[in-house]
Symmetry: C2
Subunit: 613 residues, 2 copies
């Protein structure tokens, strides 16, 4: 395209953004208009993408990090012939794929955006896939706002991209000077961004974001830059092209006051169809192997930490399946992900202490077809909560592993204890939450989670626990194990992880004094085994849950939800961590929290006496 | 002190760190030894602190961001005469204040650390207090590790500190080259850190971190630097002083293999007592006013968004109470925190789009005695989950406000919807969770939360809802309101926020067809009103919860916990957001999620039929 045509295309994108938001009665046209020339040049001259085959392995990737500028993205899809005018004007209506912020309901969108500062970190995962795994020359483009450069997650990604020499990654920052409530911190000071990015090792190009020739040259410069990612810093004007709104405050996230007038000012509706460059041929040949993993086997009676079993099982899954990759936040020696690192270093991604990049990297790798496991302390996964939440909106399939669960870690104290992780992961849409209590169970679940959909979470423990299951036992997701059962059971104790062993000890002690208690190992916290719990409720009439987690959102809540089906419910009680722990031994911690065998036995006795009384 | 004495003091701190970890059988002595000379010089020559009066307003602040180096901090307290040898050697034992990572159980610790990358962001809050509110010349020192510089939260703080010209803030980075599982990204490349910090506008000094004279000069340089924060980048060696461990991998977080030998090598146990400089006299005179707020009043029948009522009430609370401050993540126009900004600009802190800094800033301001309200979209508070969790460990009193709750926001789509926020905030230790449904209730709760302990959360809604309470109605925290009640109630509907209005409509419709349903407005989700729920359960036998939130960890779980007291429980059912929303109008969203009046009426009918059948 000639430069005049590119400028015209930019106007078309503006007009379409204005039209879409006007039809919807909401949306962010002014944020779309600032970036329209950048998008036009990218689409017409640089992007290599087969819109008919979004899964083409050679396709460049485009991540709209400033997801609120979705009208621009959808206008671009119309220009590419992928979306028609009718669909465009159905923006934000019930059932439309053209949501307020882009999601992978659209086949050309790899990752959902709309929580700012997430596009670049996820794109880093995609670019790593291209560089180290796919080994294909596709490029990853991120279109970002200037406001979101304040997010720390962006700087985790900036560091990670430069350190890994991701020259297949181009960040375009639409520096339109205006955030939501007023001017950004750096307004039009492009140098402020350039200095920071330079210091981290990026190549930068500063351009007038409305000069299509300069933009074209900047993209070419990015493509010819090696060993470094490039940031194109574009000075733009929000609402560009319509005087009533251009570069004015207070107009964020609102349709234009007079759309017809604006469209006329922009030169009217256009119907230019862009012929987008085809991607280069390419096939992923490096990720080989897809056989059935042989999980490690442990001898019942031995004492093994579930984190150890996880590490060993992970290495076995990796040996069998070439698309399994692992991400670490510089704690692989603690989570035991390092076992995988030693056997499969080419598929191990060290993210250093940057948990947002850890999870975002997993999302990016999943978008390229890999099966990522991202592991850190359960407590520190909270750092990436927003990324986990958005991963669910992205329909991403990722495995998260949190070690050092609960007060059972002992002397390190509360900052290191995962006590909210089950609540966090249960609340994520479509998630799976697994919490094994022994090594063989851990090995099986580590293997099984690879094939599930959505966000999968495995919670592991620091200290050793007795192996209580044989190595051939199976543990279906959504199941549970009844470990003690008697016709005369008066109470059912539901436990998981470390509390299973406390529950078994309590039940055995209680049996000696004539009180029979059923024990259920609820290793699958979500989905939960409603059938077994209902049966136990019917037969024992009383359920006691015991968990090394705060009382809210954990195992007690998971069990209670089973009985929220409108039918008569059993009596229930719950033991959980209600104190603020300090330092102490694991045994002292379990006792202080009231979740050890003594506490369980006392609670069961009380519950049984209450019924008798 | 002479430099020789300072070096000796450094050795004393090392010996004490070795002794403490050896006695405990766990801990991080090598991470303490690298920073011992930095700590010695700071304590003896620069820190102004009255250990007998930790609340002295003129005290400098010291934040040990690398919280795992707690033995160093406790050794420093011993050198200052604040902790004796016996207490030091009781490190990490049950009941000891000397926990594995520092917490404010120690009167000289302002904020808990141990989740890396949090010290600097919290310190920024303290430094802002000193600069803008207290207007006292205290300095805030942060001792940070090099590994944690990978956390994005650090760069949010770096940006924020420079932008605010916090020359009262000094960051000391103990660049010991070794992280937990191996070398850090930049190892001993001090320039790598200096370039980055410079680019953000910091003054930097690079020193040999074992040269006490150079360290002394660096602190002096930091104190004389104006208009910029200073970072002292210190090249150190992990395990410094003991050949068996110095600068060696694989020794993170472990007591020394031979403590006696190490102590001998370090020159033996010493008992130097440092006379720490007294803080300058000073009194906070700027935060005046502590009268009873007069919350805004709304007329029943009007339609007002709870976020609007929040903003207006916040301004009123600010007018009455001089220590109330507000933090915004560049969405004050949406959360309505901007109402406060207009009336009290000197107490309004714009954090831009950096939610971790938002919450950390609140924690820092709370540590200086202020009453912070930090507001953003409920969905985006997930970005700061780890900071909220740690704020609880810090025993911080902070108010968090999340707007745009649930699917009721309408067309913006799932990325903007708070659907996990109640789960997140309920699971935090000692938290309070409030979710008002009308403007007068919001105004009262906004006022009341200022006086609570711990983490307080207020959930507000985007769209207008009818005012259903009079302006003089009271809403005690831990209470609820019974809005429909009849002797013949067959079911109790428990709702909060937007679903209260749906529940009322459903109940009124059901009453017309002869089915009586009680309606409870559960505005206090935690603590929850067990008495009223128990009474309703006893009288109606069946409880239906309805919430604009995912089914896990929300109102359904909060209600279920009431009945986990071992006594017979009512029948229960719950309506919640189980779908993945797209874009649609608010009404369509509530309907699609099955939480509108139609859905409630249908569910009640089903529950009543089931009982009759």
């Amino acid at each position: 395209m000639q430069y005049e045509e590119l400028a015209e295309l930019g106007q078309q994108l503006r007009v379409d953004a204005v039209r879409a938001a006007d039809a919807a009665g909401s949306g962010h046209p002014t944020s779309s208009m600032s970036a329209a020339d950048l998008a036009a040049v990218l689409l017409a001259h640089h992007l290599r993408f087969d819109f008919d085959h979004p899964d083409h392995p050679g396709n460049d990737r485009l991540v709209l990090s400033k997801g609120h500028a979705s009208p621009l993205l959808y206008a671009l899809y119309r220009a590419a012939g992928a979306v028609d005018e009718e669909e465009l004007l159905g923006y934000r209506t019930l059932g439309s794929r053209l949501e307020g912020h882009p999601t992978p309901r659209l086949p050309w969108v790899d990752t959902a955006t709309g929580s700012l500062g997430q596009g670049l970190p996820v794109a880093v995962g995609m670019a790593l896939a291209g560089q180290r795994l796919d080994r294909l020359p596709y490029r990853v483009y991120v279109l970002s706002g200037d406001s979101e450069m304040a997010e720390g997650s962006v700087w985790e990604a900036v560091e990670h991209a430069a350190y890994n020499h991701l020259d297949n990654l181009t960040l375009v920052v639409d520096v339109n000077r205006l955030g939501q409530r007023g001017p950004t911190r750096h307004e039009h000071d492009l140098d402020a961004y350039a200095r920071r990015l330079h210091a981290f090792g990026w190549h930068t190009v500063e351009v007038d974001g409305h000069d299509v020739q300069a933009i074209d040259a900047a993209f070419a410069e990015a493509r010819s830059t090696t060993r470094k990612p490039t940031a194109i810093l574009a000075r733009t004007r929000k609402g560009r092209g319509v005087e009533a709104v251009e570069d004015r405050e207070g107009l964020h996230g609102k349709p234009l006051p007079d759309a017809d007038e604006a469209i006329a000012e922009l030169g009217g509706v256009r119907h230019t169809r862009v012929t987008v460059q085809a991607p280069p041929d390419g096939k992923v040949t490096t990720a080989v192997g897809d056989t059935t993993p042989a999980p490690p086997r442990y001898d019942p009676g031995d004492r093994v930490a579930t984190r150890d079993a996880f590490g060993q099982a992970l290495a076995a899954v990796g040996a069998a399946r070439g698309r399994v990759v692992v991400l670490d936040a510089e704690v692989g020696d603690s989570t035991r992900a390092e076992v995988f690192a030693k056997e499969h270093p080419e598929r191990y991604f060290e993210c250093y202490i940057a948990e947002q990049q850890l999870v975002a990297g997993a999302v990016g790798l999943a978008a390229r077809g890999y099966v990522p496991y991202a592991a850190t302390f359960a407590a520190f996964l909270t750092r990436a909560h927003d990324f986990v939440r958005m991963a669910a909106v992205s329909r991403a399939g990722i495995n998260l592993v949190g070690s050092h669960a609960g007060v059972a870690i002992g002397p390190d104290g509360p900052s290191q204890m995962g006590l909210e992780d089950i609540a966090m992961l249960r609340s994520v849409h479509g998630s799976t939450v697994l919490y094994p209590c022994d090594a063989n169970q851990t090995a099986r679940l580590t293997t099984a989670m690879a094939d599930l959909d959505g966000i999968r979470y495995l919670r592991t423990s620091r200290g050793g626990t007795p192996v209580i299951y044989g190595p051939d036992e199976e543990f279906p997701v959504g199941g549970s194990k009844v470990l003690r059962r008697h016709d005369d059971d008066k109470v059912t104790i539901v436990a998981a992880g470390v509390t299973v062993h406390e529950a078994l000890e309590a039940a055995d002690r209680l049996a000696e004094s004539g009180i029979r208690a059923r024990v259920i190992d609820l290793y699958s916290v979500k989905p939960v085994d409603a059938d077994t719990l209902n049966e136990a409720a019917g037969q024992t009439g009383c359920i006691l849950t015991v968990e090394d987690h705060h009382p809210e959102g954990g195992i007690g809540d998971a069990v209670a939800e089973v009985f929220a089906d409108g039918r008569p419910a059993p009596r229930m009680a719950r033991l959980a961590v209600r104190n603020m722990p300090g330092s102490a031994t694991p045994e002292e911690q379990l006792h202080a929290a009231g979740i050890d065998a003594d506490s369980i036995a006392a609670a069961v006795t009380l519950l049984v006496e209450r019924v008798v009384a």
